[in-house]
Amino acid sequence: MSTSSVAPRAAGAAAGSESGRVITLAQAIREALAEELRRDPRVYIMGEDVAEAGTPFKVLSGLVEEFGPTRIIDSPISEAGITGLGVGAAMTGMRPVVDIMFGDFLTLIMDQLVNQAAKVHYMSGGKLNVPMTVRTTLGATRRSAAQHSQSLHAWVSHVPGLKVVIPSTPYDAKGLLKTAIRDENPVVFFEDKMMYTLKGPVPEEEYTIPFGVADVKRAGTDITLVATSSMVQVALGAADELEKLGISAEVVDPRTLFPLDKQTLIESAKKTSRAIVVDEGYERYGVTAELASIIADGAFYYLDAPVKRMGAMDVPVPFSPVLEDQTVPTVEKVVNLAKTLCGRA
């Protein structure tokens, strides 16, 4: 995984570049949480080992020292319970941030998320709402095997009532997490475990990033690579390789799966006439299918090739490195498919 910084296009990034400050994705997440905890006394964090331990990934280190154990709360290993508490607390005036250590554990909170949080506002005819943020992780290749490696963001993206955020850079992660905590709806926020050490420019000044605005991470003219979270670095790596072959790839990051900036995806595909969607969720019935369908529908008359999809292989994530590494899209695989689409295979 590349650790080179990615230059975001958004306006706020200019300040970051000027000040030259570069931090990791984990630091960006921690800053966003600390700023919102300082700004709003209704915000609290609850999860397993979130206080002194700062989570196994050390993303939250230092927060309990500043905000104390009444706001940074170590919970029992009861994912459904802490999410349920979050729903009830959010309905009655708090702004919970619920920490679900591994995305695989979303399976344990599905009733609270899907049948409760997502439906409260609608079922109550708009009277009640659930301003809760669920932070969790995705991403394989950490040698963690089948129950600690899945990318299940498609599951929650399927559910009306939830918003889904899937950042790929420290800058985006910080701005989008602050927006998530301030949002009046339940938001599921996915962090790629392998990107916590990824560095990028983040300005000192406060900023937020609105949901539903895709970001072109690299401009190009021959082919569009739509990529999410962990796959943005893969797409950028592929774009570098393709450039050497004389193929100009545009990398587009939707940043939020709902709300979704369909227009930017469609416009990019219209411009380049080819598109590959790359995402680390299972390929079957996944995010790639939804995004590819939107592009195929919206850019049909401009396309020179079918829209292609690259997701995780449809197998439980295996442990052995020689097996696991086959299951996720790589720079090489993206380059090969792009070459084929561009008639250069």
Binding site: G81, G84, A89, M94, Q112, Q116, Y122, M123, S124, L128
Partner: protein
Amino acid sequence: MAQVNASQPAQHAGTSPGERERSLHMYRQMVMIRQFEEQVNQLYMSARMPGLAHLYSGEEAVAVGVCAALRRDDYITSTHRGHGHCLAKGASVDRMFAELLGKAPGYCRGKGGSMHIADQDTGNLGANAIVGGSAGIATGAAFSSKMRGSDQVAVCFFGDGAMGQGLLYEVMNMASLWKLPVIYVCENNLYNEYTHYSETTAGELAARAKGFGITTAEVDGQDAATVYETAQRLVDAARRGEGPAFLLCNTYRYYGHHVGDIQRGYYRSKEEEEHWKTDRDPIKLLGQRLVAEGVATEAELERIGTEVEAEVEAGVAFALEAEYPDPSEVDQHVYV
């Protein structure tokens, strides 16, 4: 661990003007719930109500006794069998009926229906169609109350069926650990849908809450005065910061699991149903007590019945005449 002897009659009724007023209010509320549910059944039988409903008839003393111990700004969460809880917490019959018929003036603009009535003005965080599904919400409301420095208490109503759900045990653990002001009210109406609870339940129901160090009480759920007095004691303790409680109310469901469950012979006998209706009816029992203690005369109770009947009939008429929501509302309120 507190234990209430259900056979010991409460000695409170009618000794002061405040108590008299409360007793009569409780009686009126119970009659209202009974008549409301009879009307719901009629609406179903005459095919004027979409979908199904789960009737609360027979269990009125639980909702009314518990809610009499609550303030308006205290919270409740309810169940699929929730009409009684909503009314007891202060919902009005006309908007309740409107919701059941899917009409625009309903509590949820027709989006929730029988199983999802919520009313923030009376602290009702919503009925819930997932068995045990609101245990997290009620406990979270109690957690929020404590974090905000409020003294609001949350009551989580659920049935014996919810004792099979894991979420309940996760949140009872946290409620006890953090001394949250939440009362878990288990209405044991003997049946998990169509199955007697003894076939699904190992050990004692109340022992499960005791295992978490939660104050536990078991009462005759047909005796409104005892339910009220016990609930008041538990609610007061929770409000003082002494932590959660578990109140097991032994009660009975007169109708089937839902209005369409009319052939019940395969899981319970007519004799059993008759016994509860004849000997253990909570409205009858409270009425007899009020008359015996000189709190009210037969004529006064009859007048309450007549007044409630008029209110319930007016509520049904209101709902039947009310407009349906505009079709364009279908995609409103998905997000704030």
